[in-house]
Structure formats: structure tokens, C-alpha cells
């Protein structure tokens, strides 16, 4: 397999991995499988020897159809990442059937990278991350190999323009495969490059401040970590079908005490309320409009939390717990958040608009889709609240004589008065308990239910005939029974947290943990803190004028355990191990927040204060500046560009003049130096008599040793005829050489005479 073929298969593998990664991220297995199959077929058909591409007309038609589909989807559902990625996959598949040149292969690589980014924007799950790693490796390898491919193609085209004649006998043969040193060098270089890239990405990941600039450019960028919940805020009874039992996790719950101690146990269950449905009509439960809602806009400022106004309400002190909830994939608008009754305060990690119902404690959110994390402080046992004076019970009713008769029968069987007018309000709790116990026998739990006959009320049908159903039927039936005997009650839908992971100390809530239960409003049967006074009725032993919502689950406990707390199996244990790894991935990487960052940075003793302030300031300016800031930035950029251009032009035009000026300066400097030197050189040239002196002494047999100064040598001459003239000439030489003196003509004449005397 030569380099070209190897490169093409590298590109194809990167493309297939990118499609697979997106399919994992989006969990669109059918679409991904189909795309992979088509791409593999197309590539193999066109890549084999003699392979032929599909006619261009068909390719062009397919491309046009893909574009039209993308436009139509965008107009129908709005632009989103899924459309872009699906369009990209369609283009990739179509290109597998088209002829491919170097440019097409480069486009493959680019589309792979775009698809990888699309996968990142779609999901942050562990599976996606694991699939993304080989995708990135292959994509980058393909991008690097593409550079080699381009070079080979350019050389090949240049050679193809030449006739293929053997040229010269001395032409050396060239290898067709990369040499081992090349591969080694390339591997080392790429490894070093990857190290550098990972180091930079790690630095950016850790040092970049969080919670700055979120939602500044709209609600996008956040990704889900799992599937979106199938949670519905309405209950429709009477429709046949099978309720989903998917074990895909939808949220993670960590329960702590207020002092930070992690709570929870495998046998401990938490009811996470999503929706409260208190209005029943024609087999459908919906939320009534009577609940007051308060809107908290957390899109501005830095405070992402609010209190529900329940702090300290009621008598006595309740133990508070803290729930750390992470929903893996929330919708953008009107998404129900899950809390335990009753929430006291909620703290979010990102901006959103929150709607909180004072009466029913329901929390809905408008914000970014994808992963959502929040912390709720709750009182798991609601403190009693005062009810308006003169109202003992909240008036409720359920128009169904058969159900009322059945309720009366149940209460009478429990020794309670079914008539709300005469029954003491303190007996409501016992009555509700009796109704709850009624379903423990004679009823069967099933997720697959048929529908009642026409016009038959589903609750009546369930209670009186079918006696088989799922949690929604049980909850609906209990509420109906309670209401017929004057007990205020409501259906609550949400999730139950039952699966406690000992390794990670948190609850994994799955799609199959969706549940419906009941809340009943009763007088709390707590004893007063003083003995009964004379004349007080037993009712006074309770807290008069208070009520409390209690959670009741009519689903038979055995069935509840079977559904939500099954016996551990090997598969479930393996799954727990994976869940632990997945949870570690989510908490350490995906949910890496500002607190974790601050702790990590502090542990590494890195001061990011300046960076944080700068980013925060930049984000604030962007938020407040808006379009004017962008316009100002563009103007500044244009001015800067024009200035650089003008400076460049000025330099270009003025450079010759500058060069001329510089050259003239240099020439002048050289002249000055040369003139000074030439004067000095002339001076030294005038001392040539010294050479004649040396020659004369040498002729006389008194050559000067190299180590001896001339005047000293002259003075040591023994001859009386040689020493004086030699000394005079040496002294004259000293004056010129070291004294920079100018000899006069008389001096020259005297020197000449002395030299003649020496000769």
C-alpha cells in the first residue's frame, strides 16, 4: 500500500470515526448507522481499482437536496447544532460517492473537525469523550498526512508535464516509500506537538475563569451529558401502552446535611418533585392556574440563587438537607427542576430565569439547554404552616359517587368517619394512611395497561374493575379517594432517587425512576409543648390553625421495591462501576466549576486574580457594551489597519530617501575617519628614517635586537661615532611615533646628517 492509498484510508477512517462520535453524542444510532453504511459502500466502490464515481448530475442533486433539507429544518425548528451536524454528515456521505481530488480530501479532514466540534456541542458524556479521542488523533494525523500528500501531488504534476523518458544515465533512483528515519522523526515531532497541545489545553482548562460571560451571546454552547428526561408535567390516564423502562441516567443527586456530611443509603429514598397536578378532567391531571408563581431573573448580576421565603416558617426547627442535583440534559424553556418538598433556597451555577410556585413549590427554569446543576436546601419534613383563620380544611371534592362510596367503606373499615363535616380534622392523616394502605392488597402493579371502555372514568375503572395499573393510576386513585372524603390532596410527578452508589456516594436517577405519588394536606399530629388546659378539647392537643403537606406513595411497597430497587445482578454491578467512572468524569471534567478551579489553582499556588479580573471586566464590558462596543472595536480595528497601511506606504515611498540620507551619513563618517587616519599615516610615513637607522646599524654590525627599544640600544653602543647620532635619530623617532610631533625641515636635515654619519 503506497503513501497515497494509505493517506486516503486515513482520511476515510477519520471521517467514519467523526460520524460515529456524533452518533454517540446525539444517540442517533439509526441515523449514524445508516450514514456509516452508506459511506463505507460509497468509498469502497469508488476506491477500488477502476472505481468510478457517481455521475455529477446525481451528486449535484444530492447536494441540493441536502441543502434544501437543512434550510427546511432550520426554518421549522430553528438553527441548532443537530441540523448542522446532520448536514455535514450528509455531505460527507455524498462525497464518498463523488470523485475525489486533493482539495476534496482536504475538505474531508475539515468536515471531520467540524463534526467533532458538533459532537462537543451536543453532548459531554463519557462515551462521547472516549469516541472523540481516536477521532481527534486520526483527524490530526490526516491533516498532517495531507501536507505530505499535497507535496507529492505537486511534484507528481510537475513530473507529469515532462515526457516519461529515461533522462540521464546518472539519474539516481528515488524511493516510493517513506524511509524509516522520516517516520521516526515524524513520530517524535508529532508526539512533541501533542504534548505541547495537551499542555496548553490543560492550562486553558484550569486557568480560564468560569461563570464569566455565560449567555452573553444567546443560549447556546452548553451540552448535555446524557439523555433528556421523558418527564411530563401532565398525566393522561386511560391510554393504552407500555411505559418506558429505560435505565439511562437522567440526573445525579448528592444529599448532604447542612454541615457538609454526605447523606444517603441504599435503603433511603428521596422523592424528587417535578410537577404538581391538582386539576382533574376527563382522565387528565394538570396543574391548576391558582398556584402563585414568583419569577426570579438570574440572567443579570452574579447571584445565581434565591430563597423561597420559607426560612424559619412554622413552629419548631426542622432538619435541613442540601441536595446537589445535576440534570444531564435539560430543555431550554419551561423545564421542571426537581427538588424535595419543601425547598427553602436554590442556588444555580449559571444564568437562568426561574419560576417558583409558592403554593406547590414547583420550580421551572428558562435557560441554556444541556447540563444543569443546582443546589437546593430543603426541609424534608415540612414545618406546619398556619392556615387562614376560620378555615379548617381546604375545600376539595371529587365528583364520583362510586369512588366516594369506596372511600367511605375504607374509612369505616379503619374506624374513621368518612363525612368531612363531622370527622375531626386531626383524623385526616389517619384517613389518608388508611387509603394508602388500601392498595397494598388486591391490586397489581403493571407497566403495560389497557384502556377502559368508552366514557368510563379511568380512575373508577381502575379502582372498581381493573385493579391493575402503574403509579399514575395508584396516585390518581388515592387523590380521588381522599378528595371524596374532604382531604386536600394532589398528584405529584417526578423521580424517586433509590439507587445509591456506594463508591461515589450519590444517587443515580434513571429514566425508569420516573414516578407519581400523592401529597395530602393534613394537620400535623404533633403534641403541643404544654399540657392541656382545663376546657381544652383533644383537638387542641394538635396545632390548631396549621396544616402540612405530607408525602404518600400508594404504590404497593413490594412493587415499588421491584421497580425502583431491584436485586443487584452482575450486570447491575458492572453498570455501577461504569456509573462511578462516568460520575467521576462528569464531576471532575464536565462539571468543573469556579469553586473547583479556585481550589485547584490555590493548591498549585497560582495567582489568577489578575486574569479573573480582566476576564470579568471584559465580560462585563461586552454585556453592557453590546453592539456599540462591537462597532467601536471594529472602528478601532479599521483605524489601526489604515494606520499600518499608511505607515507601510510611507516607509515604502520614503525608504529610498532614508537610505540615501543614511548612506551619505556613513560616507561622511568614513571620510572623517579616513582623513584623520591619513594624516596619522602621513605622519608615520615621515618617520621612515628609523628604518634607515636600523639598516645602518646592522651594516655596522650593531643590529638592534627585537626585544630592545631603539633608544636603549643606541645608548648601549660602545662606539663614540655611532652612539650620538644613533641616539639623536632614535629620539626624533620617539617624538614622531609616540609624541605625535611634526618634524620641521631643520629636524629632517639634522636627521639626514646623522644618518649620513652612521653610514
Amino acid at each position: 500500500m503506497n503513501d497515497d492509498i494509505r493517506f486516503r484510508w486515513l482520511v476515510f477512517t477519520a471521517a467514519m470515526l467523526a460520524i460515529f462520535t456524533y452518533a454517540v453524542a446525539d444517540e442517533s444510532w439509526i441515523f449514524g448507522g445508516l450514514a456509516l453504511a452508506l459511506a463505507v459502500i460509497g468509498w469502497n466502490v469508488t476506491e477500488r481499482r477502476g472505481g468510478r464515481a457517481v455521475p455529477r448530475a446525481l451528486i449535484a442533486t444530492a447536494i441540493v437536496l441536502a441543502i434544501l433539507w437543512a434550510i427546511a429544518s432550520g426554518l421549522r425548528e430553528g438553527l441548532n447544532v443537530a441540523h448542522f451536524c446532520q448536514f455535514t454528515i450528509a455531505v460527507l456521505v455524498i462525497k464518498c460517492y463523488d470523485r475525489r481530488t486533493s482539495a476534496d480530501l482536504g475538505q474531508f479532514v475539515m468536515l471531520c473537525l467540524f463534526l467533532s466540534i458538533g459532537a462537543l456541542l451536543t453532548s459531554n458524556s463519557l462515551w462521547m469523550a472516549l469516541a472523540l479521542i481516536p477521532t481527534l488523533l486520526y483527524s490530526v494525523a490526516a491533516a498532517v498526512a495531507y501536507q505530505f500528500h499535497l507535496g507529492r501531488i505537486a511534484a507528481r504534476r510537475s513530473a507529469a508535464s515532462s515526457p516519461p523518458q529515461p533522462v540521464l544515465p546518472t539519474r539516481t533512483p528515488t524511493p516510493t516509500l517513506p524511509t524509516a528515519p522520516c517516520i521516526r522523526g515524524l513520530s517524535r515531532t508529532l508526539a512533541l506537538g501533542w504534548l505541547l497541545v495537551v499542555a496548553v489545553s490543560l492550562a486553558v482548562f484550569i486557568l480560564f475563569p468560569r461563570n464569566v460571560g455565560a449567555d452573553s451571546f444567546g443560549r447556546w454552547g452548553n451540552a448535555a451529558v446524557g439523555m433528556q428526561t421523558g418527564f411530563n408535567d401532565e398525566v393522561q390516564l386511560g391510554e393504552p401502552g407500555l411505559i418506558s423502562t429505560s435505565s439511562a441516567p437522567v440526573l445525579d443527586l448528592t444529599v448532604r446535611s447542612t454541615d457538609g456530611r454526605i447523606l444517603g443509603a441504599p435503603e433511603e429514598t428521596y422523592y424528587l418533585r417535578g410537577a404538581v397536578l391538582d386539576s382533574y378532567r376527563n382522565g387528565r391531571w394538570t396543574a391548576s392556574d391558582s398556584s402563585r408563581q414568583r419569577i426570579h431573573d438570574l440572567s443579570a448580576g452574579l447571584d445565581f440563587g434565591f430563597t423561597t421565603g420559607r426560612a424559619g416558617a412554622g413552629r419548631g426547627q426542622n432538619t435541613l438537607i442540601e441536595l446537589d442535583v445535576m440534570i444531564r440534559n435539560a430543555r431550554t424553556e419551561g423545564y421542571h427542576l426537581f427538588t424535595v418538598w419543601r425547598p427553602r433556597s436554590i442556588e444555580f451555577e449559571s444564568r437562568a430565569v426561574i419560576r417558583y410556585g409558592d403554593d406547590n413549590g414547583i420550580v421551572t427554569r428558562d435557560g441554556q439547554s444541556g447540563r444543569v446543576r443546582y443546589t437546593v436546601v430543603c426541609e424534608p419534613v415540612e414545618a406546619a404552616v398556619a392556615i387562614p383563620e376560620g378555615r379548617l380544611r381546604t375545600p376539595v371534592s371529587h365528583d364520583s359517587p362510586p369512588i366516594a362510596a369506596l372511600a367511605g367503606e375504607i374509612l369505616r373499615g379503619a374506624g374513621l368517619d368518612p363525612d368531612p363535616a363531622t370527622r375531626p380534622i386531626e383524623d385526616d392523616a389517619a384517613a389518608a394512611a388508611a387509603i394508602e394502605r388500601y392498595f397494598d392488597t388486591g391490586f397489581e402493579y403493571t407497566l403495560d395497561i389497557s384502556s377502559p371502555s368508552d366514557n368510563r372514568d379511568p380512575i373508577e375503572w381502575f379502582l372498581l374493575e381493573e385493579k391493575r395499573g402503574h403509579c399514575e393510576y395508584y396516585a390518581s386513585a388515592m387523590v380521588a379517594l381522599c378528595r371524596t372524603v374532604g382531604i386536600n390532596s394532589r398528584v405529584v410527578t417526578g423521580f424517586v432517587a433509590t439507587e445509591f452508589n456506594d463508591a461515589t456516594r450519590h444517587y443515580v436517577v434513571r429514566e425508569s425512576n420516573a414516578h407519581a405519588w400523592v401529597e395530602v394536606e393534613v394537620v400535623p399530629p404533633r403534641p403541643v409543648d404544654r399540657p392541656a388546659a382545663v376546657g381544652e378539647s383533644p383537638a387542641d392537643l394538635f396545632h390548631p390553625g396549621t396544616s402540612q403537606w405530607q408525602t404518600r406513595d400508594p404504590t404497593p411497597s413490594g412493587e415499588f421495591r421491584r421497580i425502583h430497587r431491584p436485586e443487584p445482578t452482575l450486570a447491575s454491578q458492572v453498570r455501577n462501576i461504569f456509573e462511578a467512572v462516568n460520575y467521576a468524569w462528569i464531576t471532575s471534567i464536565v462539571a468543573f466549576d469556579d469553586t473547583t478551579r479556585t481550589n485547584l489553582v490555590s493548591a498549585m499556588r497560582i495567582d489568577t486574580t489578575a486574569l479573573d479580573h480582566w476576564v470579568e471586566d471584559a465580560g462585563r464590558r461586552v454585556r453592557h457594551g453590546g453592539s456599540s462596543l462591537v462597532a467601536r472595536a471594529l472602528t478601532n480595528a479599521l483605524v489601526a489597519a489604515a494606520s499600518v497601511l499608511f505607515l507601510g506606504l510611507a516607509l515604502t515611498l520614503g525608504m529610498p530617501a532614508l537610505k540615501g540620507i543614511w548612506r551619505s551619513l556613513l560616507a561622511r563618517l568614513a571620510r572623517v575617519r579616513g582623513g584623520a587616519r591619513s594624516a596619522r599615516a602621513n605622519q608615520l610615513a615621515g618617520a621612515s628614517f628609523y628604518t634607515r637607522l636600523l639598516h645602518a646599524l646592522a651594516r655596522k654590525g650593531h643590529a638592534k635586537p627585537a626585544w630592545q627599544p631603539p633608544l636603549a640600544h643606541a645608548r648601549e653602543l660602545c662606539s663614540e661615532t655611532l652612539a650620538p647620532p644613533a641616539c639623536r635619530v632614535a629620539e626624533a623617532f620617539y617624538r614622531v611615533r609616540f609624541g605625535h610631533a611634526e618634524l620641521s625641515p631643520a629636524d629632517h636635515a639634522a636627521i639626514k646628517a646623522d644618518l649620513a654619519a652612521l653610514d
Partner: protein, 484 residues
């Protein structure tokens, strides 16, 4: 070709620029940053960091590696029009640590000679280890006779990700003399016989084995008895043998009858039918006929020289005359003269006025090659054999064709042909891009690295000296690219 230096030269200019992919990459990085900040998506922060790291790595590896690039061009021994010539480069990586990858070497052709090759010669060096020299070759085909001035080489690389392209210009001025295109002439195409056996020379000049008498000497035991000159021997006391000489070569003049200046003559001889009629009844241009005549003259010179003739060259219109001589070196000299002919400049009037035809003696043979349509009209000795470049095809050996460089350019595509081609490409099934070429496994212009020590030159001839690698046979013809 003259080369100014034997040492790999440093670059004279450096440029760095973002490619289209690099610009897109930058925009994508910005998008990742905005997305990460906006959505607080931690994996997008990772991705943004990786994108930044990729930019950093691209800048470091592409820039640092290229800083140590040194280049030297080697002269090919010869070049003929229409025949590929291998241009060889020595690439030295002066870096201590950084290897070089994906370096593309492109000859920078000056504008004046831009038309002489269809595209610049490109060589590709996949890898150059640090402190080593590598060798890379690139074939180039000069398409016109004359002096091809090479100004320098551009070396560029976009390794590793193609985000930035760093290029360097090396000023390596050189001149390549392109000789006339090679023609394969008929075997019976040779010089007319010399007049009456003289051959143009008086007597043999060296001992040989022809019947020509060279001299006598004393008999040496072992000499062929048939060479004994009995009469001369009888006159004396010793046996004398006759020495045979090498017949002196026949002198042949090749006279080239071409216009002195094509610019003026082209205007005079632009009428249809002035040259060889083609199938579409258009005429060959004077330029093309002149080049054919030059090529024909060159082929004759080579043929005659190979057959032992003394060949001289005369171009009367340009005042060029070269004394006949034998031997391959003389043939090369004459080919150089033909290759260096510059017909775009008006020749010296004094040279034109010189009457060179008088140098042709009656005992010399002559062959006149003319660019005119009628060879009979060409000036020259009456006994000379006349050949016209217009009849070139008839002068070639059976099966030989006129080289493409001496053929007129194909006519431009008519609108109807263009429409048919587009429709054919659009609706018909075409081969897949470059898969055909890839499957053929052709690798040309790919470098090899030597295993020599730092600074030592690898042997310039022979197979690759790297141990453990098997030399590959000469590459086959690469199939043509599929039409886009």
C-alpha cells in the same frame, strides 16, 4: 549551467502567511472560545485550548524548521528542448534539533522565460533530519531552445497542519542552455559523396587500417607479410613494410538558411500557404519553421559527426561560420551555437555583410537546411544537398514523429466542444480524481536523505547510499490526470 557557489546558500527573503485553512482555523478557534464562555461548556474550554495549542505548534514547527534551511542547486549536464532534465538540489538542515518536513521547492522562472515551460519545476522533500544534507530531484522540460535563465528557488512548507505557509526565496541565478530538439533522421540521410575521392584532405594524418598510404618502416617480426613492400625492400638490405593511414574525414558544411530576425520576417511571411499545409489548410508559422530548421541542422551535425565526418556550420544571415572539425566535442560546440541563437535581436550588420560562403571549397560537401518552403531557393553551393524544414516529417526515420515542441499548438476549444465536454463531465461517470495515479504508485521528485555525517557530501552518482534500502527501478509513465 553556471553555479555561483558550491555551498548551500541561506535564503534571501522569508515570508510567512496564513493559508485559507489557517484563517478558517482561526475563526473556528474564536468560535470555540465564544462557545465555551457563553455556554460554560468545559469540554469546549478543552477544545479551545487544543486549538490554541495547534496554532502554537504550527508556528513553532513550521518557523523553526525552516530557519535552518540551506539550499544549493546542481547543474544538469545537458538539456534538449522537449526532453526532461533533472534539476537536483542539495538541501541542508542547519538546525540542531528541528527536522524539516514537507518542503516544496519551486523554481522561480523570470517572466521572460515563463512561457518556455508549462509550469515551474517542483520538487518535494518529505523529511530532512537536523544537521544533515538531503538530495532531491525534480524533472523539468524546457519547451524551447535557447538560454533559460533560472533566477532562484522558492522553498515553502506548511507543516504540520497547513495553517501557515512559510516560504523562503533563494537567489540562485543560473543559465541553462537548451539545445535544439532531438530528431531521429532517416538512415539514408547523409552527406553527398566528396568530389572524386579527395574527401577534402590531402593525405592521411595518422596510422590506420585504410588503403590510404601513410608511410614505410622496417619490418618487425610479427608484421603482416602482406604489408611487405617488396620492391622497396629489394632496393635495400632490409625488409620494408607499408603503413596504412586513417583516411582523413570528409568535410561537410551544414548551411542553415534562416531569417536573421524573426520579428521582422514573421510579418513578411505570414501569408497562408507559405509553409507546410496541414489538414486544416493553415500554415506553419515562420518561427516554427525556423526552429524545425535549426533542429534539423542539429540532427544532421550529430549524424555526420557520429559517422566520422568533419562538420562545419554556417549561418550566413547571422554571419556565423564554424570551421569544420571532427569529434563529439566539436559537435557539442556546434550544438551550443545553435542552442544559443537569439533570433529576436537584430544581428550585427557587419557580421551579416561578411561573405562566409566563400569558405566552402569545391572539394567540401554541403547540406543546406532552409526554413523556407522551397529548398531549391536556398542560397549555397550548387552541389549542396538541400533540405527544407517544411518537409521534416519525410526526413525522419520510419516510426519517428516530430517532437511536440516543434509542433504547432492545438487549436483552442470551440464553444461546441466546450459544451460537449462539460456535459460529458456532468452526466457521465468519470474516474475518481487521482485514484488512478495513486494506485499506480508513482513517486517522482521525492527526496532521499543520505546517511552521511554532518557536512559531508553524498556521492553524486550511483544509487542511494543509505544502507538497508533497495533502489527502485525507473518509474513508469504516470497516467494522465482525470479531467476535473
Amino acid at each position: 549551467m553556471k553555479q555561483p557557489s558550491d555551498i548551500p546558500q541561506p535564503p534571501t527573503r522569508r515570508q510567512t502567511g496564513f493559508s485559507v485553512a489557517g484563517t478558517l482555523y482561526g475563526l473556528t478557534t474564536l468560535f470555540l472560545a465564544v462557545g465555551a464562555v457563553n455556554g460554560q461548556n468545559n469540554l469546549l474550554f478543552w477544545a479551545f485550548g487544543m486549538a490554541l495549542g495547534g496554532l502554537l505548534v504550527s508556528g513553532i514547527f513550521s518557523g523553526s524548521g525552516m530557519m535552518g534551511l540551506r539550499l544549493r542547486r546542481h547543474a544538469p549536464p545537458a538539456a534538449r528542448a522537449g526532453e526532461p532534465v533533472t534539476i537536483r538540489y542539495t538541501v541542508r538542515n542547519a538546525n540542531r534539533v528541528y527536522p524539516l518536513f514537507c518542503v516544496t521547492l519551486t523554481e522561480r522562472l523570470p517572466k521572460a522565460t515563463a512561457g518556455s515551460t508549462p509550469r515551474p519545476s517542483v520538487a518535494f522533500l518529505p523529511h530532512a533530519p537536523p544537521r544533515r544534507e538531503s538530495f532531491v530531484e525534480s524533472p523539468a522540460t524546457p519547451l524551447a531552445r535557447g538560454r533559460l535563465d533560472l533566477s532562484g528557488v522558492n522553498a515553502s512548507s506548511s507543516f504540520p497542519l497547513g495553517l501557515m505557509r512559510k516560504s523562503m526565496d533563494f537567489d540562485l541565478p543560473a543559465t541553462l542552455l537548451v539545445l535544439p530538439a532531438r530528431l531521429h533522421l532517416r538512415d539514408d540521410l547523409h552527406a553527398p559523396p566528396a568530389r572524386r575521392g579527395h574527401g577534402g584532405a590531402a593525405s592521411p594524418t595518422s596510422v590506420g587500417h585504410s588503403p590510404e598510404f601513410f608511410g614505410v618502416r622496417e619490418y618487425i617480426p610479427g608484421d603482416n607479410p602482406r604489408l611487405i613492400a617488396w620492391r622497396a625492400s629489394a632496393r635495400g638490405d632490409t625488409l620494408i613494410v607499408r603503413q596504412e593511414g586513417t583516411p582523413p574525414p570528409t568535410v561537410v558544411w551544414v548551411l542553415l538558411d534562416i531569417p536573421a530576425n524573426l520579428t521582422e520576417a514573421d510579418a513578411e511571411d505570414a501569408e497562408p500557404g507559405a509553409g507546410e499545409a496541414r489538414a486544416d489548410n493553415t500554415s506553419l508559422s515562420l518561427v516554427l519553421r525556423t526552429e524545425r530548421a535549426i533542429a534539423l541542422a542539429a540532427a544532421l551535425i550529430e549524424r555526420l559527426t557520429n559517422r566520422g565526418f568533419s562538420v562545419g556550420l554556417m549561418i550566413d544571415s547571422l554571419g556565423i561560420a564554424r570551421t569544420p572539425a571532427a569529434g563529439g566535442w566539436h559537435a557539442r560546440r556546434l550544438l551550443n551555437v545553435l542552442g544559443a541563437l537569439d533570433l529576436t535581436r537584430t544581428p550585427d550588420a557587419k557580421a551579416r555583410a561578411a561573405n562566409s560562403l566563400s569558405r566552402i571549397r569545391r572539394e567540401h560537401a554541403a547540406m543546406i537546411v532552409t526554413s523556407g518552403s522551397d529548398a531549391a531557393d536556398a542560397p549555397g553551393p550548387t552541389w549542396a544537398r538541400r533540405l527544407s524544414a517544411v518537409d521534416l516529417q519525410s526526413l525522419l526515420a520510419p516510426g519517428a514523429t516530430i517532437p511536440a515542441v516543434l509542433m504547432p499548438p492545438p487549436p483552442p476549444e470551440t464553444p461546441a466542444e466546450k459544451r460537449r465536454r462539460i456535459l460529458r463531465e456532468f452526466f457521465m461517470v468519470d474516474p475518481v480524481g487521482e485514484v488512478a495515479m495513486g494506485n499506480a504508485g508513482i513517486e517522482l521528485g521525492v527526496a532521499r536523505s543520505t546517511a552521511t555525517a554532518d557536512g559531508e557530501d553524498a556521492p553524486s552518482n550511483g544509487p542511494a547510499s543509505t544502507s538497508g534500502r533497495t533502489p527502485v527501478s525507473s518509474p513508469a509513465r504516470p497516467p494522465a490526470e482525470a479531467p476535473r
